[in-house]
């Protein structure tokens, strides 16, 4: 028979292995959402390739703090290894480049948001796609009058003609358009999207390779669900 002290020591040892395996198991659960949701999240401007991005991000949220329209959110535990990693939900609040100088990139201490970028035109977050052409008001030749996203929508946009430095809530800027062209009108990137006539007073938005995937068109689109969406991580060159 072993003495009680040996038995206790053995128990402690086995218990410790159990705890170690448990802790590691929990941490490795992070693999599941990471593998499943690859490339699904829209990342802030300058984000490295997804795996390098997850590796290099130190999860501090300094990019969140400098964004003038609070477009950047941090991943939660359901994002696995993407916990604390920044993403943008374009439909809720797109990146409208109100900051001009890509403040999030400048704030990033690790280079997860690549410092090689200095202009918004160089950004490659994703690429817009007309996902629901039948919903598009322009394609139906319809006008648009009122608040683009209704009176409860909190999203902001910079309207240069009102205040070049201060973004305002979209609901405070109602529109009155004979033909809906919101996605083209509000796009912050030159020559990224245009409206082309398809006859019969109808038009369709055409996305050009300059599109950087900032998400403004998805945010401003008044239909529900939005006719135009961003495919994260896609670029014009892939066309």
């Amino acid at each position: 028979m072993r003495n009680p002290r040996q038995i206790e020591a053995r128990r402690t040892f086995l218990r410790s292995i159990g705890l170690g395996v448990g802790v590691l198991g929990f941490s490795l659960l992070g693999f599941i959402p990471t593998l499943k949701s690859q490339t699904l999240r829209l990342r802030p401007p300058g984000a490295l390739e997804e795996n390098s991005f997850l590796a290099s991000c130190i999860k501090c949220g300094q990019c969140v703090q400098v964004c003038p329209v609070q477009a950047i959110k941090l991943g939660d535990v359901i994002d696995g290894f993407g916990i604390g990693v920044p993403f943008i939900d374009g439909r809720t609040q797109a990146c409208d480049f109100s900051c001009d100088a890509l403040q999030c990139i400048l704030a990033c201490p690790t280079g997860a948001l690549s410092h090689e970028l200095s202009k918004k035109e160089q950004v490659k977050m994703g690429f817009a796609r007309l996902a629901q052409p039948e919903k598009c008001l322009a394609r139906q030749g319809k006008n648009f009058k009122g608040q683009a996203r209704g009176s409860d929508f909190k999203g902001k946009l910079r309207y240069s003609e009102i205040d070049r430095w201060k973004p305002i809530a979209i609901r405070e800027h109602p529109y009155d358009l004979l033909l809906c062209d919101l996605c083209v009108r509000q796009c912050p990137i030159p020559q990224a999207i245009k409206l082309v006539s398809i006859g019969d007073n109808k038009s369709t938005p055409i996305i050009e390779k300059n599109c950087v995937g900032c998400g403004v068109c998805e945010m401003i689109c008044p239909t529900e669900p939005p006719a135009i969406v961003i495919d994260a991580r896609k670029t014009g060159e892939m066309l």
Partner: protein, 324 residues
Amino acid sequence: MKMWESLRVLLGGKPRKIPVEQYSSQAQQIHFIKREEKLTKEKLAEMEAEHIKSRRHHYWRNRRWIVLIITNLLFVVSFGLDIQILEGALTASRFIGFHFADLNSALQVMLAFKEVLINLLIGTTTVLILWWLLGGRTFCSWVCPYHLMAEFAEKIHLKLVEKKIIKDHPFDRRLRTVLYFIFAILAFVTGYTVFETINPVGILSRALIYGASLALSWVAILLLFEIFYSRRAWCRYICPIGITYGVIGVFSPLQIKYTLQNCQHEGECLKVCLVPHVLECVKKGRASNEEMFIGADCTRCGLCVDTCPTNSLTFHLKGLSNFS
């Protein structure tokens, strides 16, 4: 403690007994005198009265809690009120423009990413020097928000143990070192900062600054585990951050100093200590010198300093005199 011994104990080794012949002659003499002294009933009653008084003495604890809360609050208001003094979270931040990076988070990122950007290197070096000066694991007890929550959990745990409702289940302390290396290897091999998924320090810090998250439920699980199953389990047996800062603490000028002369060896300090293995020298007959420095695993929390009725434990800055 000697440097290697201090490091060995930090990594989970059991403190070694030094043969009495190797004790300094003063220490041998003090131990000899102490053995001769007989404890009278009056003396015991007097000691008990002192303990009751010292248990209500919270000088360092209160100051520590204030520093911890103010530091974390500074993060919160810097973003919340947009005053931009301390931007970011505990994993990486900018203090009035200067880069700071948590050593363990920076290490995980460097291992996973395998590239080091100059800003991160600056932040890491700044923090390294700062915590070397301040004592290494001082970070744990004076800044870490999880530490504060765990202290409250510990209070409940001890109450429950006292009432015999639950039992404490200690683990093997070497587990923390094993996990430290596994997390380092995992970061390097998978290319993901695996540890951050379960890092309650990052989770709590971000939740305080950016708002509540689902990840807080993991922190809740940890706290419940500590309340009902094992005292201070995360800090004692798991957290690699503690080891990272502990290693720096080996060389730190800021230490807790033990003076043998007036110690009555009642062990009050051992009861309040997060890492009682560093306090082996306070046990009767164990101090090999009349003055001893407590090892690297010590978080410089000051609970032992507060609870000691004879001032045998003090904060000490090497090169300067005592300051408590």
